[in-house]
Each structure stands twice: as C-alpha cells, then as structure tokens.
C-alpha cells in the first residue's frame, strides 16, 4: 500500500504540479524518456522485420505495376535514409521484370503443384512446401506432445519436491540443445536406426524429421504445461481431496480440466516453434519437394527451402522474391499461432481461475 502511495506521489511530481528540485526533475525526465525510447526498440524490431521481409517480397503483390508501386513502397519506408537506395532497388526490380515470361512472381505462379525453381521453366508452386511443413510439424507434435504433457503432469502433480527439482532443470537443459546439433543427431543416429528397424526406402524422410523435431518442441510444451498445471489454485485440489478423491483422481478430473486452456496454449506454441524450425528439417528430412501425404517419403519444408536456396539465388530475381514471400508467410503463420496462444487461451485460463 505504502508503495503505491509513494509511486502515485512520484507520478504527480512528474506531471509537473510542483516546482521543486527543477534540476533533478530534468535528469529524471531524461532518464525515463531515454529508457522509454530504448524499450521501444522491440516494437520497432517487429515493425522492421515485417516491413523488410514484405518489402523484398513486394513484387509478388504488385506484379503489373511493379515499377511505380514499388517506388512508392520504398518512399514510405526510407524516411531518414538516403534516396540513392530506392533507385538502385528499382533498377534491380526492373531487371527482374525483363527476365522470361514464366519467371514472373505472381499468385498464379505460386499456386502450381510443383516447386522447381531452377531450370528453363521455373515453377514456384508453394503447395508441396506447405504440405511438407505441415507433415513434419504434425508428426513432431504427435511424438513430442504426449511425452511432454505426461512429463509435465508427472513433475507438477506426482513427483516429490526433490525429484521435481531434478526433472525440471533437466528438461529445461534440453531446450539449450542447438537445433543444428539435434539435426546432426537425427541425420547420423535416428535416421540410421529407423532405417534398420523399419526398412525405409528413403533414409531421410518426414518421419525421421518429425521425431527429431519432437526433441526441439518437448521443452517448450513441457514448460508451458507445467506452468499451467502449477498455476491451478490450491483450493481446487484441496476441495477435491477433502471430498475424498484420491491424488490421481484430483489430478485427472480436477487439475487437468482446469488447466486445459494452458495445455492447448502449450500445443500451439509447440506448433509455432516446429513450423518455423529450420536446421533440423534441413538436415533430417531429405528435402525433396513432394506433395504427397506419405509420411515415409522425404519432404521439403518452407523454412528449409529458404535455408537451402537463399544462398544460391541472384539478389532481386524472382526466386529471391519468392523465398522472401515464403519467409513472410512463415512470419504471418507463426505470428497468428502465437497470438492465439497468447491472447485467447491465456485470457480464458485466467477467467476460469477467477471463477467467471
């Protein structure tokens, strides 16, 4: 209480209602505003990422009026920067518009069924890549989520306090595994193991990639689920135990239902993480852009396509633009998934605990 009062007094002072300590107030003013300005960086970062990934993908949105529109687009973003930049950019785009009739980035070109960006007649169909991403992600969730959720249930509800203090940091350490190391492990060990056990035709396939990616999403699903389970108010379980329910009955029929939105959020966050994951998929899925639903065939995901092909494209040509467009799609998709997890589910969880 005292604190809030003190701060409210402070706030009044800052509003300039008294004229004491003028010098101090200037430094206070500067400190607060500089801190505020710096903390704006994160927001600026999001805007910049959005703007610049879409900027490079812009020719897709404006295929016909490429020249005029993209110059406008430039000007709206190049405030404070040298105007020389935009002329260079436009010339690049102009060059790209001259190259081959079929080599034009348009929505029509993107909805083809094949991804074949190199060659006489390049095809930029995103469908196989999208299916690939979806396949790998769903497999990762199928393998990782049950394990992670069960482990969270164990450490939050059943394990002794001491055991919990070992399990929790151990699984959190799994989060510190670089994805390139998991990818390497998948490429070397998991792939060989599965091939010898199941006799796969293709050593690297969606199944292997999915299993490997499960390692990457287990920590996040575990942590968020565990948080949700421990956040259930104590009186929920106390009431249940007082009514004669056993420990596991309480866990299964009282705590779990109360924490369902949190577990759902954990799944969504895991999905978002897996959908954007690059290195594991680049190394362990075989990278063939096939649009089948067979999970034992190689797949090429959206993220892996960017990782594999961006280094070899010419800046500003259609392939480059399409890769940026895929990046923009990835950004938007993960953004939406995370936003749902954040706003909808958390709000619902809080409401439920307040008993509304």
């Amino acid at each position: 209480m005292l604190m809030t009062k003190l701060f409210s007094i402070q706030n009044k002072k800052r509003d300039g209602k008294d004229s004491l300590n003028r010098k101090f107030r200037l430094s206070e003013f500067l400190a607060e505003n500089i801190i505020k300005l710096v903390s704006f960086t994160s927001f600026a970062a999001i805007i910049l990422i959005f703007a610049f990934v879409f900027r490079e993908a812009a020719p897709i949105f404006f295929p016909q009026e490429k020249k005029t529109l993209s110059t406008e687009f430039q000007q709206s973003e190049t405030y404070g920067e040298e105007p020389a930049q935009s002329t260079q950019k436009t010339s690049q785009e102009y060059a790209s518009s001259n190259s081959g009739a079929s080599d034009v980035a348009s929505f029509k070109n993107l909805t083809q069924k094949e991804w074949q960006p190199v060659g006489e007649n390049p095809k930029y169909g995103l469908l196989p890549l999208f299916i690939g991403s979806l396949k790998a992600t769903i497999l990762a969730i199928l393998f990782g989520a049950p394990l992670a959720i069960l482990a969270a249930i164990y450490s939050a509800l059943f394990a002794s306090k001491r055991l919990r203090e070992i399990i929790k940091p151990a699984i959190e350490l799994l989060a510190s595994f670089p994805s390139v190391v998991i990818g390497f492990f998948a490429l070397m060990t998991i792939a060989t193991f599965f091939q010898s056990v199941f006799g796969f035709t293709y050593r690297l396939n969606a199944f292997t990639g999915g299993v490997a990616m499960a390692f990457a999403i287990i920590p996040i699903i575990y942590t968020v689920t565990e948080d949700a389970l421990t956040a259930v108010p104590k009186y929920f379980s106390e009431a249940s135990l007082a009514l004669g329910a056993t420990k596991w009955q309480t866990a299964l029929f009282v705590i779990m239902p109360a924490a369902t939105p949190g577990i759902f959020a954990a799944l969504l966050l895991g999905f978002g993480r897996a959908f954007g994951e690059t290195m594991i998929l680049l190394m362990a899925t075989g990278n063939a852009p096939l649009s089948t639903f067979n999970i034992f065939e190689p797949v090429r995901t959206m993220s892996a396509t960017i990782g594999a092909e961006m280094a070899e494209v010419v800046f500003g040509d259609t392939h480059y633009t399409v890769l940026f467009f895929i990046g923009a799609l990835l950004f938007v998709i993960t953004f939406i998934i995370n936003a749902i997890a954040e706003f909808y589910v958390r709000a619902k969880l809080m409401k439920r605990f307040r008993g509304e």
Binding site: M3, L6, S27, E28, A31, E32, I35, K36, V38, T41, S42, A45, I49, F52, V53, E56, E81, A84, Q85, Q88, L150, A151, Y154, S155, I167, P169, I171, E172, L173, S176, F177, P178, S179, V180, V181, G183, F184, F185, M188, F215, Y222, T246, K247, W248, L252, G272, G276, E277, T278, M279, L282, S303, G307, L323, F324, G327, T334, F335, I337, N338
Partner: protein, 300 residues
C-alpha cells in the same frame, strides 16, 4: 474400484515413464555425440586450423568466429534488453497502450522463426543499411558494407536474443523487494536514483543470467546467420567487422550435409557437435545455477 485403482496407477506410471524417456533421450544424445567424436577431442583440435580440405586439423577459426559473433551480439542485445526490462518493470503502467505494445512486441519477437530473422538481416542490414552506407560514403561502386559480414550477422542475432535478456532481467527485477524501493524513495532519492543505485545492483545476477542465456542461444543458432555473414572456410580469422566468419553450428551443418566425403569427416563432425553442445550446455547450466542461488538467497 479395482478398475479405478488400475487407471490411477497406470497414469502415474505412464507419466513417470515419459519423464524418464525424455531424460534418457537427453543423456543418450550427449553420450552418442561424445562417443562419435571422442578420438578427435584433443587440444590441437580446439586450437588448430582445418587441414586437407577439412578432413584433418582443428576448428579454431570456427570457435573464434562463434565467440566474436556472440560478443558483438551481446554488446547490442544486453543493454537494450536490460533497459527494456527496467522500463517494463519500473516505469510502465500496466494499462497503458505503450506498455501493451512493448509486451506484445517482446512476445511476438520470441516467436518469430529463426530463419525469418535471417531474411530480415539480409533485407534490412545488408540490402538496405549496408548498401545505403556503400552508396553514400564510398563512391567506388564496390561492396563494403552491403554484403554479408560479422557485424550484420551479430546484429541479426541480437534481434533474436533480445527477448531472452528482457524476460530474464524482468524476472530478477520482480524479485527485488518493494521495501528496498520504498526505502530509497523515503530517503529522498528520486525514482531514477533508486533504480540506478538500489534496484539494478540488486538484480545484477538477473542481468548476468540474461546475458549468459542470450549467448548460449546465439552460439547455437545457425539459421539467422546463414545468409548474413557466415562462411564455410576462410583462410584468415576475421580482422574487422566487414569480414565474414566461420561458425561452429554452420561448420557442422555444411560438413554433415554438403561435403563430398561425409564419411572421412565423420569424427570431426561429431567432435565439433560435441564442442558446440558443451558450449551451450555449460552456459545454460551456469545460468541455472546463478538463478538457483539467487532465489535461495532471496528466500533467506
């Protein structure tokens, strides 16, 4: 009744088994990678240059490149992350639109896929800022800043790791008791003085944890630097910010997927993966210990 008991027991057993399986997998990965690279883990491997087309020699340049990357990254992301956390915890009112914007941005930023950061680095730092610098300062028409280099890769990585710092520092700021702030203010210190002299010194361990976690993350990520500055092989160590650099993670990736003779370099790949794993592992272990001791101290 029997059925119920069985159900209950099987839930406990299944959840315990899942936990065990995850931890067993974790241990197995470490042991597998260690045993694959055991024969190569020597001092010469850490301090030597690659020889004979990567089939022999060490990974010293990759270690140096990784260290330089995370150091420059930290210079950018630790101060910004710390200041943002101070703003969010000390100044921001919970209901203001500005605060909500910042929180939303931090959450979003931590969910953006690593590869999108790479694209952003290419589109923003190299194609926009770098090319802009080249156009306006140098007039020789050559690329100086408008190409992948150490600085742009580090800054791209800083964007990725800044949420890690913010979350960690804010957590530690929250554990500074309000009594301390009240005492500072009661003695006549201003808000900024209280923050600078009381709050921040009391959460130094949080800032350190944040920095360590960010470094661990930055050392392990490869996707953001793929097209912003990393190179597979360089004859020299990077001398200036506009040089390209080698990186442990990228080294593993290229050797394992793109080299002509994967078998010949298998041991080196395992050993490199082990070094990288130990690096990120020990960093997050240290962060965990600092945090644990800090919490214990706070309780006492």
């Amino acid at each position: 009744m029997m059925n119920n008991k069985f159900l209950g027991r099987s839930i406990v057993i299944m959840s315990a088994l899942s936990t065990l399986l995850i931890i067993a997998a974790l241990v197995y990965i470490i042991l597998d990678i260690y045993s694959g690279g055991r024969n190569y883990l020597t001092w010469e491997f850490l301090t030597g240059n690659p020889k004979e087309g990567m089939t022999a020699g060490g990974i010293f340049p990759a270690i140096v490149g990784t260290v330089l990357l995370v150091l420059i990254m930290s210079v950018a992301c630790v101060p910004i992350g710390t200041i943002t956390a101070i703003y969010l915890n000390e100044y921001a009112s919970k209901t203001s639109v500005f605060t909500k914007m910042i929180r939303f941005a931090v959450n979003t930023l931590s969910g953006v896929p690593a590869i999108v950061f790479g694209l952003f680095g290419l589109g923003f730092f190299i194609q926009f800022v770098g090319a802009g610098i080249d156009k306006s300062i140098y007039s020789d028409g050559q690329l100086h800043w408008g190409q992948p280099n150490l600085l742009w890769a580090s800054l791209t990585m800083a964007f990725l790791t800044v949420p890690v710092v913010i979350v960690s520092v804010e957590e530690s700021l929250k554990t500074v008791p309000n009594d301390l702030r009240a005492a500072g203010l009661a003695l006549g210190a201003t808000k900024w003085q209280t923050i600078r002299k009381i709050v921040v010194p009391n959460s130094l361990s949080g800032i350190m944890t944040g920095a360590i976690l960010a470094i661990g993350r930055g050392a392990g990520e490869v996707a953001p630097i793929l097209f912003t500055g990393v190179a597979y092989f360089l004859p020299h160590l990077p001398q200036k910010l506009t040089d390209q650099f080698m990186n442990l993670g990228y080294h593993i990736y290229v050797m394992a997927t793109q080299s002509t003779d994967v078998e010949a370099t298998k041991g080196i790949q395992y050993a490199t993966a082990f070094i990288l794993l130990m690096l990120t592992f020990s960093l997050s272990f240290v962060a965990m210990i600092i945090r644990y001791r800090f919490r214990k101290k706070l309780k006492a």
